[in-house]
Amino acid sequence: MSQTLVELRQVSKFYRDGIGIKQVVRDCTLDIERGKLTVVIGPSGCGKSTLTRLIAGFERPTSGTLMSEGRPITGPHKDRLVLFQESALFPWMTTEQNVLYGPAARGEATPQAMQLAGSLIDRVGLTAFRRKYPTQLSGGMQRRAELARALVNNPKLMILDEPFRGLDAMTKSLMQEYFSGLFQEMQATVLFVTTDIDEAIFLADRLIIMTNAPTRVRKVINVDIPHPRKLADIVENDSANDVKIRALSILHEEAMRSFGGSAKASADFVQAYAARIGRTDSMTPGNPAP
């Protein structure tokens, strides 16, 4: 079995907008490796969600190829499930019905599937909320319920597009530790999209940094911090801080480019930031440096 699950080769995507045609993805080539958590980070609006829609199969590329296990991606499939930015639990179904929806729709609601659903609901800590409707769950619970709804289908790839955007800081850090542990334990293949560098480094096995729109891969960094990770430890971890400085300098360059700024300003920013990291002892995980 090949190490690569999904591969993108020279993928480009154009959109028609009001005035003309706009390129959002340009010649993007990347691999998603089995059993690893790949984090995609890039400036806001660079085209990350577009990339996830292409990989999920909701949209077709304008040019280039996307392959999953060596076969071209032609449409959505239960093998590649997405947790989108916005919650998509069916409000008219209970947690249990939501989680079982995939197997039920495909006529696969076997006793084993039901059992798996039950144990996943337990695993994401929603046992007491099995018969509640989504609006009765908190934001963090909804995310976990949605995750269980995806995992019950045994997807080969889980795609998460900024799943913690909009959660409060406390819930967010709890969810990050929780997801990191869960995916580690399941040996799942995950593509995780974020704009938050601390979140990216905390979760990633591989960190893919994207350029500004039209986006493509700017740099791939392997993050070799052993699991299980703790948010509190990451702050003090030298290799994490090293990755962070490298990533930030690239991200900052990309951001400056879109504002028409210079490379000099970018260098100054990173230097100032590195100086700050030298004094990390006073930093807390919930309150990272700007």
Binding site: K78, L81, F84, A88, F90, W92, A105, T135, Q136
Partner: protein, 290 residues
């Protein structure tokens, strides 16, 4: 303090205790007293304006005493009271027409609205025509309806049906198009067929709008029913009101009006209740927010 205690019992002792608790709660809130006060003020003004002060425009009106006296009399002066079978015959005649028209409007309006919302092609063909016909007031159809149906009964039913049908179809369409794209995408991703997506996502997702439509529908049904009965009826509450006018039996007019108000209120309350029953997820949603 008592409320806390009765709350604890309510949890243990299920239904009856809960109803009792709700009753106690609602008696504690000012709402029922204010409502009673509103009624009392209105009736008091009516009585004073007609019989005591004899205000210019009110002098010729039937007095509160005359109306209530006749309404609850075993031997009513003007022939219609709670104790005469004709009273119920009229209510039944109107109710039957409304229910028939409402049922037909629902049976045709919901599927049409679904089709509008679900199929853009269908909408492009039919919706413009629909939008031209919809603003024509039901009363404008009366002459054509009489010509078309040769009899009064069918034409009254027809003009009762028409606006109810338009309200139902329009709201159902809005309901279908209000459904968030992400639910459809989630269903597709999880392996639901088009038909399953329709049944499990489109129908329940549009339900709140459909029920809003049904509330409007029964309201406009009563509205045009009375207009129809006044012009072309031989029975019914609209007919009672109109003959009360031509025969100068004014208390009968008011008895007819009040009865209409009560029957109309009850019919839309029933729809609201059914809606709440069917959409517990939605009621809870509102309950949490409210």
């Amino acid at each position: 303090m008592e409320m806390v205690a009765s709350g604890a019992i309510g949890r243990e002792d299920s239904r009856l205790a809960m109803i009792r608790r709700r009753l106690a709660l609602s008696l504690r809130s000012p709402a029922p007293y204010l409502a009673l006060l509103g009624f009392a003020l209105f009736l008091g003004f009516w009585h004073l304006a007609v019989e005591v002060w004899q205000l210019p425009r009110f002098r010729a009106m039937p007095s509160l005493g005359a109306v209530v006296g006749d309404w609850i009399s075993r031997d009513p002066i003007y022939g219609l009271s709670l104790f005469t079978p004709e009273y119920y015959a009229h209510i039944w005649a109107s109710l039957r027409r409304v229910l028939l028209a409402f049922a037909l409007a629902t049976a045709l309006g919901v599927p049409l609205g679904m089709a509008f919302g679900w199929s853009p092609a269908f909408r492009r063909y039919v919706f413009p025509l629909f939008e031209i016909l919809r603003p024509i007031p039901a009363l404008a159809w009366v002459p054509l309806a009489i010509v078309m149906f040769h009899g009064t009964e069918s034409s009254v039913r027809f003009i009762t049906f028409l606006p109810a049908f338009f309200a139902t179809a329009l709201n159902t369409m809005l309901g279908v198009s209000s459904i968030d794209e992400s639910y459809l995408r989630a269903a597709r991703c999880l392996g639901a067929s088009r038909w399953q997506t329709f049944r499990h996502v489109v129908v329940p997702g549009a339900m709140p709008f459909i029920f809003t439509g049904l509330q409007i529908s029964i309201g406009v049904a009563w509205f045009s029913l009375v207009a129809g009965e006044m012009l072309a009826g031989e029975f019914g509450l609209g007919y009672v009101i109109y003959t009360g006018y031509t025969l100068v039996t004014y208390p009968t007019i008011v008895i007819g009006m009040v009865t209409l108000g009560l029957v109309g209120y009850v019919s839309s309350a029933i729809i609201r209740l059914v809606g709440r029953r069917l959409m517990q997820w939605h009621a809870r949603n509102l309950g949490i927010e409210g």
